[in-house]
Amino acid sequence: MLKKLKRSRGGGSIFPIILMIIVTSVSILTIFMINLDTNLRSLQKDRYIKAVDMAVNTAMANIELSDSVDDLNSNLNAQQNEMGILYEASSLDLLAAGYSVQKRIMVNKEALMDTFYSTLLKNFQIKGLDKVASFQRYIPLKAILQYDTISVSTGMHYDTSLGYNGFPKNKYVDDWQDIRLSFKVGTTDVFMTLGDECYTLIDPTAPMVASVPAIPGEILRFSDANKTKIDVTDPANNSVGGVQITPERKNEEMAMKVQSVLRAYANSPKLIKNELGVSSYYQNANKNVNYQMSIAEVDNVLHDKNTADKINGAINAAKDVTFYCLVEGLPMKSLLKGQINNSFSTFSYGGAALKRADE
């Protein structure tokens, strides 16, 4: 055949033509495969992001108040002060009035995470909430910003304690660590809240107090008598050690605090427990990639008025109750690589500002 072709071409070499055809065909096929693979991975990534966003948004939309007695007292007091009358304490509509002034809301973290996990697993087509223990290795960081704390969770444990209905919970729940939102002015710690209120401590060495009566396992709080309150919107009452704490300063400090906490927890080795309860440390879900999460790079633009408009969502989000979630290492299928590629990484957050329905 080739001889015939060669003879028909007057004895000239056909090698360049065949080589050209082969090279062109292989190139086109390769480009096609790479393009197809890129499109498939892009589609997967798009769907992963949408699934995480849907879960975060749903969790924030279904926000509930904390049912812990200590937190509940905080919630009710704020409402009572604002409305003068206390009825239907669990209604977010009514609490919104108190919230809009002081943002004194403590979130029911367990209910929020239940909503988050169930929506997330359904969007990943994983059946059964018990699979959350296996899946949570891809969600190494969850954080909830509320009133005067940021609660961070990097692991879970199996909880057999009794629930509100008197039955054992028998489910995986997050291990939360509460971190106070504070910054230093000189040597004085200034504690921030999501509202306009900040406070310093009259005696920093004074022991923290429990509720009366005490609640087992509750987080101790600074006593009200030990607080000096600061209203950042009142120039006559917003000075600490001669330094005025303006709303802008407070927002900056809040954003940087949130940023530093998230960055520290996202990049630190995490203690996780597998389904058998065995604990182990790991650096990242994807052990082959050595990278550091960089969250909300706001340091460089904070003091630049020209780029103030470009300050990312972390600052704005840090003014209201917010749920942050880091998802990384989810497996992504690839046509070209035989093994599963754990390259997916996203950081998602949802914020909630409560408002009355008629506003």
Binding site: R9, N35, M54, N57, L94, D358
Partner: protein, 269 residues
């Protein structure tokens, strides 16, 4: 001799033309394949967005109405023919969770907070990209062994609103608006004969004193001269149950200002 050489060169030209022809066909095939692939993935992302947006709408409104369903199908039809499967996980009054698989049983049925809605759409026939990819020039086409790049999209969401407003908010809204626009209210009343709460087929009208009424709309309406709903007690007309669930509808004028408001109390769960 010259004739033989000419015939050889003619054969060579034919071979060149044939090779060129096959090469062009090959290139055109891949251009169409590339183009259809781009369209396929773009359309797939658009369909994903449509499905996700629909789930967002349902979970926010708390109901999947017939008109919303038709609007959803119209949006989907821009990207091809799809089979739409809607699933719901609902909680009944006894607290039992159950799954619904038929759109007919899900449509126009209000959800409760905590219910789940899931929408799965699948293209009813293989897209152009899949057909071209599985085309076999040399042998008969065998789609069973080919790659099936069928469009498929799924989204799930938890209902976060039951779509109703509470009686306490209705009172606020009437107090705020009835001095300037007519507000019509339809409430439940306890029936002593049947020992049930029944919908009274009568609208109550709160409105400004200057409002003279609408003959068509207010023929079966009991006008209430004041617009203070808290002045009415459980046994009088126009009483609003603080804990009741109400739907809210409004009429807008050309400049999108609210001209009328309607509240209808729903039966308890």
């Amino acid at each position: 001799m010259k004739l033989i050489n000419r015939r050889k060169s003619e054969k060579g030209q034919i071979a060149d033309i044939m090779m060129f022809f096959f090469f062009i066909v090959f290139v055109i095939y891949f251009i169409i394949l590339f183009t259809s692939m781009q369209f396929f993935f773009r359309a797939q992302k658009m369909v994903d967005n449509v499905v996700r947006d629909e789930v967002e709408i349902i979970r926010t409104k708390g109901i999947f109405t017939q008109s919303e369903y038709e609007s959803f199908l119209a949006k989907l039809s821009k990207y091809g023919n799809y089979n739409v499967n809607v699933f719901a996980e609902k909680q009944d009054n006894a607290g039992q969770r159950g799954k619904l698989f038929s759109i007919e049983t899900i449509k126009d049925q209000p959800f409760k907070v905590g219910d789940f809605i899931q929408i799965l759409v699948e293209s009813s026939k293989p897209p152009l990209f899949s057909v071209i990819l599985n085309t076999n020039f040399l042998f008969s086409s065998n789609h069973k062994n080919g790659s099936d790049f069928r469009m498929q999209s799924l989204a799930s969401g938890m209902i976060c609103s039951d779509g109703f407003i509470k009686g306490v908010e209705v009172i606020n809204l009437i107090t705020k608006n009835a001095s300037s626009i007519p507000v019509r209210l339809k409430t439940l009343k306890y029936s002593t004969t049947s020992n049930t709460e029944d919908m009274v087929d009568k609208w109550y009208l709160y409105g400004p004193s200057s409002y003279t009424g609408d003959a068509a709309k207010d023929s079966n309406t009991t006008p209430i001269t004041d617009y203070n709903p808290t002045a009415h007690t459980e046994n009088t007309d126009g009483w609003i149950n603080y804990e009741g669930r109400y739907t809210m509808d409004v009429t807008l004028n050309d400049s999108y200002a609210i001209t009328e408001m309607y509240f209808t109390e729903m039966l308890p769960y």
